[in-house]
């Protein structure tokens, strides 16, 4: 009994609890987005999720020039320089969010807040009627939720114990025991697969892919696991080449065998540029300024190829 209470009091760092989430698993869902990610994907569209610390976003258009933030921050993050220019020294930020507290104009936006497992469960419980009507549930995502493995596992376990369909979305780059524990409490694992060539994977995401592939193989073979969907972010020039998706097809077919009882679902998620404005509010450069979304025909060719390996491809989430 005591241990259960302890798990409920576990604290996590989230950046959003999004209700009416409709692209992160079946039905109408609530998605809890945790902060912190071990990968640095060039195309990342949730850059506010990368850092495991509390940050702030800045929207200069909304600033009314009251300069309360300058007074509030003892670390000199917000400054008006000699030329009267508003300057932001993010490197000085100690994640205390005092500037955000006083910014009623919401020019400064807090990114990241702590919440307990119990609080997260109470929030997702609110929309139970929608899950029940739609076959939906809850998804824990990020960032990388396995960076906060204990929180994630406890959250999934509690949701499932309450009869909520529980899903986790992971990049797979985590110690196997962390993944195994979380997956044991999940009805569905959404598992990202980005690039089959390890050197390319390292170049694109900052880490090699051996751990990810190994985790996927072990997860697939785990007895009693829940459903598994592969998520393939389809990024022009980065991982949209035929050799990549054929390699993916071969790898997955090796897992499933030629006659799997259920065809393994693969969601092809076309690159979009929408994350770019998020980089601006974080004051970060965006590496893929001119990258275009993939052509429909390109992504359809990839889907057809994957279907040829006995997989169940879906374009879009």
């Amino acid at each position: 009994m005591e241990r259960r209470e302890d798990a409920g009091m576990l604290r996590g760092l989230a950046f959003n609890v999004q209700r009416y989430s409709i692209h992160d698993g079946p039905g109408i869902r609530t998605t809890v987005f945790l902060k912190g990610c071990p990968l640095r994907c060039l195309w990342c569209h949730n850059p506010e999720a990368i850092s495991g610390r509390i940050e702030f976003g800045f929207f200069p258009d909304r600033c009314i020039g009251c300069h309360e933030c300058i007074q509030a921050c003892p670390h000199g993050v917000h400054v008006v320089d000699a030329q009267g220019q508003r300057v932001v020294y993010r490197e000085r930020c100690r994640s205390e969010a005092r500037c955000v507290e006083v910014c009623y104009a919401e020019a400064l936006e807090r990114i990241g807040y702590e919440l307990t497992v119990d609080e997260a469960v109470a929030q997702v419980e609110r929309d139970r009627p929608f899950y029940e009507a739609s076959g939906g549930g809850v998804t824990i995502s990020g960032g990388e939720p396995l960076r906060q493995a204990a929180f994630t596992a406890a959250f999934l376990a509690r949701c499932r114990a309450r009869g909520l369909h529980a899903a986790i979305e992971t990049c797979g780059y985590a110690p196997w025991p962390a993944l195994a524990t979380a997956a044991a409490h999940a009805d569905l694992v959404l598992f990202d697969l980005k690039q089959m060539d390890s050197a390319s994977h390292q170049a694109l995401t900052g880490v090699p892919n051996a751990l990810i592939l190994d985790n996927l193989a072990r997860l697939y073979a785990s007895p009693g696991r829940g459903a598994l969907w592969i998520r393939y972010p389809f990024i022009s020039t980065m991982n949209d080449q035929p050799e990549n998706y054929h390699a993916m097809g071969r790898f997955l077919r090796a897992l499933t065998g030629p006659q799997p009882p259920v065809r393994l679902r693969v969601d092809l998620l076309p690159y979009h540029q929408l994350g770019q404005s998020k980089y601006r509010k974080l004051g970060r450069p965006y590496a893929l300024e001119h990258l275009q979304p993939p052509a429909r025909a390109t992504i359809e060719a990839a889907a057809d190829a994957l279907a040829g390996y006995g997989l169940d491809p879906h374009i879009g989430g």
């Binding site: 959003n16 989430s21 992160d24 919401e106 739609s134 404005s277």
Partner: protein, 781 residues
């Protein structure tokens, strides 16, 4: 795909009033919707279903009628009325005078039959223009008051009543079912029997007897006048048949003459005859009531005629749909005249009075015709309940996906009917509800509803409360002051409504409409005298959301955080948040205090508390017709216009700024998604305001795309129903809305763009990416 959706008119489905209601400029929306977004949805549904259920070209006849409508060929028959009632008529009681004046208009009104028409009849007499410069027809502008009625009251009478003779009490669904079942002759016979009984009845005082006999005489005058009008059409059709350019058209015109001849007195025997009599009755009702006349449960009162025709093989489904399309085209002839919503709403499906599912083949046909034509009228509402057939439910969802501005409006029987029961309407008749022309609830053909006469503007009440509140109060005191004042305002509103009610009864009865409503002929009482079964006066509760937001903000800032004293807050409001400190206070009130629509107990509970008092208190007032006040949460353009004179308010609203409409969150303050907003809304709808409320949901195309999109949309509607929502309308977000969001980002902070694993608020995107989204939206992101 070309050719599937022909007949797009260069008109706007969404009218000015709705645009104002939505707080955005929707001009050009209809044409925008005809573009790729719609095409994509059409293609997708067609792919999913094989041939779409709306499939097939419009018939050459319907195309021709649409072409005529487009060119407004009917407008050439319009005239400005200036008829004088003979002096000897002025000795009659007001109700008879009203009938005689009505008969005069019907007698003098130009009539017309156009090329290709099989259903005929339209109003051609209008009031003088109020505005110059438009060319709707010579002398009458698009923004004119379209109602015309000859003067039948003396200036003294009008002055005494404080009301113009002929003032309409519209927004009421007339008893089309009764007209079609009995025919005009049947109605006159019923009136005659009632006259005979009342003439010998011993219970009545002589004055009362005279009054009732006068009413029944007036009814007879009206019905006879309509019969004569129909006979004029018979004659015109015969004459045109004789001159017809082709034998085919001659035969058609002869058939029109035959139909008119039969329905001039007898009840209709076929679907076509029923549609024709419906159209004539509608013309008569528009002459008497001018505008805003809903069409009731169209698929219910017309179904017996279609069912009979289908069963004996007199008509097939295809022909029935074409006839329906011909009628729908006719219902759009006055669209160009009205600067406001013309309120021609039909209600489909739902339950029968016995609680059976009421969906029938005509329900499907009406939805099909509306989707195929995409005309501004009739506006289509559907009633859903637990027993709605899955196939019909799916049609409704697919229609929503097509993104044709709010088509259809969805009503929830499971919540509306209990609300009516609690108001005291028996179950049998509660199951027979429809909408009033806007979105309020009424019982078609059995009730009289004065919808918009009285209202309480909650935020203004709060503003007045604050102005008078002592400086030293607790929050509980302040809330009590507010409630006390609210009750006073309700009392005043009821007094005002009742005064107008009595004035209407004195000089502006409605004998034609009354003849169609249950109870009036039987009792010999005009509807304005309480003749029909249920006599409601609406009381509109507006600005509830802003008032709750304001109270929650006061509680937090003044009483909990003690950031500012009440006098200082009042001073800041008086100064309209001037200065940088004022602006900081405004933003704190707006952005840092709980807002309705986010599933936040701190404000939702306040909204529910005020709403409960408003509902109970308003219902406790009686009106002179033996009925009661019927509260609901609606607003008309008032949430833009009426608040222009309202100073700054503690919800962080500047002086003169608009407020939220109905129970919608204040623009841009709902940030937790549509499910959270449903939760907030249901706190109020569970209190069952009998007149209901309307809930607008904006969805991005990505939220409804594909079969999974259909399923998720269906789940959203089902959950809305389970949560006791009353009425729901979707707008699949289109480029026009996104443009509006670019112009006024404050109002659209809630607008989420969703794609896989990512979500962003549209207004947070930089301009170039907003452009990107707008372009993609057109293609269904």
């Amino acid at each position: 795909m070309a050719g599937r959706f022909p007949g797009t008119l260069p008109m706007e489905r969404t009218t000015t009033v709705e645009a104002v209601k939505n707080g955005i400029d929707l001009r050009g929306l209809h044409t925008a919707r005809a573009s790729s977004l719609l095409e994509e949805a059409v293609a997708e549904l067609a792919a999913a279903n094989g041939a779409g259920w709306w499939d097939g070209d419009l018939s050459p006849r319907v195309e021709r009628l649409l072409d005529g409508l487009n060119r407004r060929t009917h407008a050439q028959h319009r005239t400005v009325g200036s008829f004088t009632l003979p002096a000897e008529h002025l000795k009659e009681p007001a109700v008879v005078r009203r009938a005689l004046a009505f008969a005069l208009v019907l007698r003098e009104m130009p009539i017309y039959i156009q090329d290709g028409e099989v259903l005929v009849g339209g109003r051609t007499v209008y009031g003088p223009p109020r505005e110059k410069g438009s060319e709707v027809f010579p002398g009458l502008s698009g923004a004119s008051g379209i109602g015309y009625f000859p003067t039948y009251t003396t200036p003294q009478e009008a002055a005494a009543a404080g009301l113009r003779g002929g003032a309409a009490s519209n927004h009421n669904a007339i008893g089309y079912g009764r007209v079609l079942t009995l025919g005009l002759r049947g109605l006159r016979e019923l009136a005659a029997r009632s006259r005979a009984e009342i003439a010998v009845g011993g219970e009545l005082t002589p004055e009362d007897r005279e009054r009732r006999l006068a009413f029944l005489r007036a009814v007879d005058v009206c019905l006879e006048a309509l019969t004569r009008l129909i006979r004029r059409y018979t004659a015109l059709a015969r004459q045109l048949a004789a001159e017809a350019p082709s034998p085919e058209r001659a035969a058609e015109l002869s058939a029109i003459a035959g139909v008119c001849e039969r329905v001039a007195e007898a009840p209709p025997a076929t679907f076509r005859e029923a549609l024709q009599l419906f159209l004539f009755a509608r013309v008569a009702s528009m002459v008497e009531s001018y505008a805003c006349m809903p069409l009731g449960r169209f698929d219910q009162y017309l179904w017996p005629f279609l069912q009979e025709d289908l069963s004996v093989g007199r008509i097939d489904r295809h022909t029935a749909r074409e006839l329906l399309e011909c009628l729908f085209v006719k219902l759009n002839e006055e669209i160009d005249l009205s600067s406001t919503d013309d309120c021609q709403r039909i209600m489909l499906s739902g339950q029968t009075c016995d609680g059976e599912d009421a969906t029938n083949e005509l329900s499907y046909l009406c939805l099909e015709a509306a989707v195929r034509l995409r005309l501004p009228s009739p506006k289509v509402g559907v009633r859903l309940h637990r027993g709605t057939p899955a196939a019909f439910f799916r049609r409704v969802v697919e229609t929503v996906k097509l993104g044709i501005a709010g088509l259809p409006e969805i009503y929830n029987d499971e919540s509306v009917i209990p609300g009516l029961l609690r108001f005291g309407i028996p179950l049998h008749d509660a199951r027979d509800y429809c909408h009033d022309g806007c979105s309020e609830i009424t019982i078609g053909g059995k009730s009289d509803f004065y919808p918009t006469w009285t209202g309480v503007r909650h935020l203004r009440v709060l503003s007045e409360t604050l102005a008078e509140a002592p400086d030293e109060v607790t929050f509980e005191d302040l809330l009590m002051h507010y409630k006390t004042r609210l009750c006073q305002v309700i009392a005043t509103a009821a007094e005002r409504g009742n005064a107008r009610d009595r004035a209407l009864a004195a000089i502006s009865p409605a004998p034609f409409m009354s003849a169609t409503l249950e109870g009036c002929l039987e009792r010999g009482l005009d509807k304005t005298w309480g003749g029909t079964l249920y006599n409601m006066t609406g009381m509109l509760g507006s600005e509830l959301v802003n008032a709750a937001n304001a109270l929650a903000a006061i509680r937090q800032i003044v009483f909990e955080e003690r950031a500012i004293s009440l006098p200082a807050l009042k001073a800041a409001l008086d100064g309209n948040f001037a200065g940088i400190e004022g602006e900081r206070l405004r933003l704190r009130l707006r952005n840092r205090c709980p807002k309705f629509g986010n599933d936040d107990e701190r404000v939702d509970a306040l909204a529910a508390e005020i709403a409960a008092l408003f509902i109970t208190e308003a219902q406790s007032y009686a009106n002179p017709r033996g009925g009661r006040y019927c509260p609901g949460f609606f607003d008309f353009a008032g949430y833009v216009t009426a608040v222009r004179t309202l100073g700054a308010t503690p919800d962080g609203r500047r002086a003169g700024e608009s407020v939220s409409g109905h129970l919608a969150p204040t623009g841009g303050t709902d940030r937790n998604g549509v499910t959270a907003t449903f939760h907030s809304m249901s706190r109020v709808t569970r209190l069952h305001p009998p007149m209901g409320t309307m809930f607008d949901v904006k969805l991005h195309p990505s939220a409804v795309r594909g079969e999974t999109g259909t399923e998720k949309l269906a789940a959203l509607i089902r959950t809305f129903m389970e949560m006791d929502g009353k009425a729901l309308q979707f707008n699949v977000v289109d480029a026009a809305t996104l443009r509006a969001a670019q112009r006024e980002p404050e109002k659209y902070r809630d607008l989420l763009v969703r794609v896989w694993g990512f979500s962003a608020y549209f207004v947070e995107l930089s301009a170039d990416f907003q452009e990107h989204i707008i372009n993609r939206t057109e293609h269904g992101l």
